[in-house]
């Protein structure tokens, strides 16, 4: 199935070469678990601070059970504490 991943801000360094600066469209196994997708991009759990599917917040505890569906857009933002 096809899904998309968007890595923002300092997480963009984890994207393989591609056209978009922040987004990649991918073919993945049906029912892929969200955290397995995140691991494929070598993003540490503490870096994947805010994880959204289609703009909805997914709590850290749900990410090991959440199955992706065709067309899902996964967006990930890093933690920020500076000021």
């Amino acid at each position: 199935m096809n899904v998309s991943i968007e890595l923002y801000a300092s997480l963009m360094k984890h994207l393989p070469p591609g056209k978009s600066r922040f987004r990649r469209d991918l073919k993945v196994d049906d029912g892929l678990i969200l955290n397995r997708l995140i691991e494929q991009f070598h993003i540490k759990p503490e870096e994947a601070h805010l994880v959204l599917i289609n703009g909805h917040y997914i709590d850290a505890e749900e990410r090991d059970d959440r199955k992706l569906a065709a067309g899902d857009v996964v967006s990930i933002w890093p933690p920020v504490a500076g000021g």
């Binding site: 801000a9 922040f22 917040y57």
Partner: protein, 247 residues
Amino acid sequence: MKQNQKDRYARHIRLSQIGEKGQQAILDASILVVGVGGLGSPAAMYLAAGGVGKLILNDFDIVETSNLQRQIIHHNHSVGENKVDSGQQTLEMLNPETKVEVIPYQLEGDELKQTIESVDMVLDCSDNYPTRFEVNRYCVETGTILVSGAAIRLEGQIMNYQPATNSACYQCLYSQAYESEESCEVEGVLGPVVGVIGTLQALQALLILAGLGEELVNRLLMFDAQGMHWQGVTLPKNPNCPVCSGH
């Protein structure tokens, strides 16, 4: 409201959503600004310009030359001064009607809690997790509104805690396990990025004071400056949050 105040804040009052009632709430308000750096600079300046009755500035730091590219409340001649003293001077020039108090050392423990309890709202403009966690905890314990901003490099975030609602708190978003050695000194930051987030903190503060905070409850905004990407998300209250779940 005095005539000179009606004149000064006429453009606020002209807004049907604010009016004299909203402006009076702003004039009557007191706000603690924790951190007078990149976020606290524009935040405090807009709050003072907007007529907030009393601001308490808290920062233990001294103005350095490398601050001036983004910390716009400080000036070239402020280098070497306490940030709170420099900030107070700027705010008094902007609006002498706003009473500005300064606390030039690290607020913590009971003194931080008592200071938070004494104000209507806190703006967290600090730069580290331990301070953010402590400020959030005392805001929850004392039922004080919190507007929390953060920014570094080319990215930023902003959220708020409104105790009168079933609002998520900072620790619903960041668990106590978060640690970071990241700083603007090491990572860098583009000046207007902290300006944008600090300005939004002031905006949220004025909206909440004027009674327009309802749509901001549980609203978290993330900003990626390079692509001008904004993403807004509803952050649910964590029923297991160690800080706010009992409140």
